[in-house]
Amino acid sequence: MTDGFVIEAREVRRTLAGAVPVPLVRGISFAARAGEFVAITGPSGSGKSSLLYLLGLLDRPDEGSVLIEGKDTGGLDDDALAEIRLERLGFVFQFHFLLPEFTVAENVMIPMRRLARLTERAMAARATEILTGLGLGAHLSKRPDQLSGGERQRVAVARALANDPAVLLADEPTGNLDSKNAHAVFEIFGKLAHEGGRTVIAVTHDLDFAAMCDRRVQLIDGRVAAPAAA
């Protein structure tokens, strides 16, 4: 790994093509180590989510490079990027995006089934363990529409952790939650970073939650404004 960074962006630029090109990210360098909990903050349109999608290999930079565990992802094809997302990255979005036809446990098992490294029984046991750890042990066989908003978002966190990723990326994960549930989610992220040794990067516009992180990266107009300690 380059200087011990688990995830790193080097001078990445991303512009939305169109009749009038819209610059989203204008040359950002960013890196995070294992066990770090980083907040990316900034006003709307500052490029927070765009940077997160670049870090999460959901989007490709026009310039610059993204390294995951020291490996440059620039020359990889879409399938290889999908493989890295499956094995090393976990995502939590503002909306839970749980599949409504599947139970809570089945939703968590979806990434495990794609990875196909565990037996069916082992996958079920791991899903149960993760969900129980997040306080959802009583809801394993429920459908997402039988859960509250906070519970659904915790299931989404459990699904992101299914394949034991090195990096957890969260895009406004508390945007649809009340303050109590939002606080609970950020506490979980803190534990995953500090006790689980994962790198957690959360995009948020809420400075109170950003204050719970180890450090904060402030973006303005697609550039890093000032790396500030939380």
Partner: protein, 416 residues
Amino acid sequence: MVGRLIARLAAAHLKGRRRATLVSVASVATGVGFSIAMAALMEGSERDFVSRIIDTSPHIVMKDEYRTPPRQPVESLFGHGAVALEGMKPKEELRGIRNANGRIAELDAIPGLAVAPTLRGQVLLRYGGKDMAASLSGIDPVRERRVSNLEKDMVAGRVESLYGAANAIILGAGLADKLSARPGDVLSVSAPSGTLMKMTVVGLFRTGVVAIDDAQGYALLKKVQVLENRANVVNEIRMRLADVTRASAIAHRIEARFGYRTESWEEANEGILEVFVIRNLIMYAVVGAILVVAGFGIFNVVSTITYEKARDIAILKSLGFPARDVRRVFLLEGLALGALGSLLGWIFGFGLCQALGTIVIKTPFMAEAAQLPLYYAPKHYAIASAFALGSAALAGYLPARKAARLNPVDIIRGAA
């Protein structure tokens, strides 16, 4: 494991659009069902017709004519030169197959081939003031039994009865009806040669083919040779094979050997068999069109699902599912609709065939009422399903490809 997950996702999507799914499956099933029934009817009628031809007609006929006129000596001498002959008069000669007995003996040596000589000519039958033109074939009853189903088709008297009277004749049942003649009646038979002969009706036959039953008669070969004033002449050698599929090849061999035009049953009925091929092409084109229309239904369902499930596609891709997995989910949905429709179509098609099989038809052109001829064959089911699955695969693939190309970032941004 991934396959099971993909199957579960596809099943969940289809369950979510139950009504549209059922309509799509029903349209495929209808197309497949009708395809099977039409194919059974088409092939049934074709086989029925062919079997009638094979049953009622000889498989190979050697005629006293040539496919091409004989070459003139000058043409042989200057074969590569520019030779034009004008004002030639055809040579008057007695028609008939030369050395018929020698050729029959040679043909008798071919294994699996039964041979019978015939002198066929046109005659005028007169009875009770009615005149009817007919085709009269002079036959050898012993050999005839081996090349035709005349014996089986007899409805009154026997073929051997031709030996039982001085001048005996067997008539088609339709022809006898038109003349109001019955066995035992004596007809006046006149040939184009001017010879007139009194002949006694000794039997009647019915093949089921109106064109034959209304215009054909049989007498002993010797009697017809006398009537036609063509002593010892044979103008057709008719042959029947143990294996009808060899007819064309053997006919070619015989023609190459003797020079006389020799037609297999396929060549003799070429026009009709071509019509069957064209009819089948039209039938499959129509059925294909029906199944393509059913494919539009599938396209509609899968397309709608990809639109509705855009968020699911986005999350699956963000979780690390490659585009091919997403494509497989929706392609599987299309194929599942096609397969389910095919399966139900098989049942529907079989039922339709059973129902069609109970219908009895009788037209003025048919000698007797008959059931619709149906032929049951696994290939009809396979062809219909192949059409349906091909159409379903295409209908599923197009939206599947679109779904696989969806950019998850666009959808996630849109959702936020």
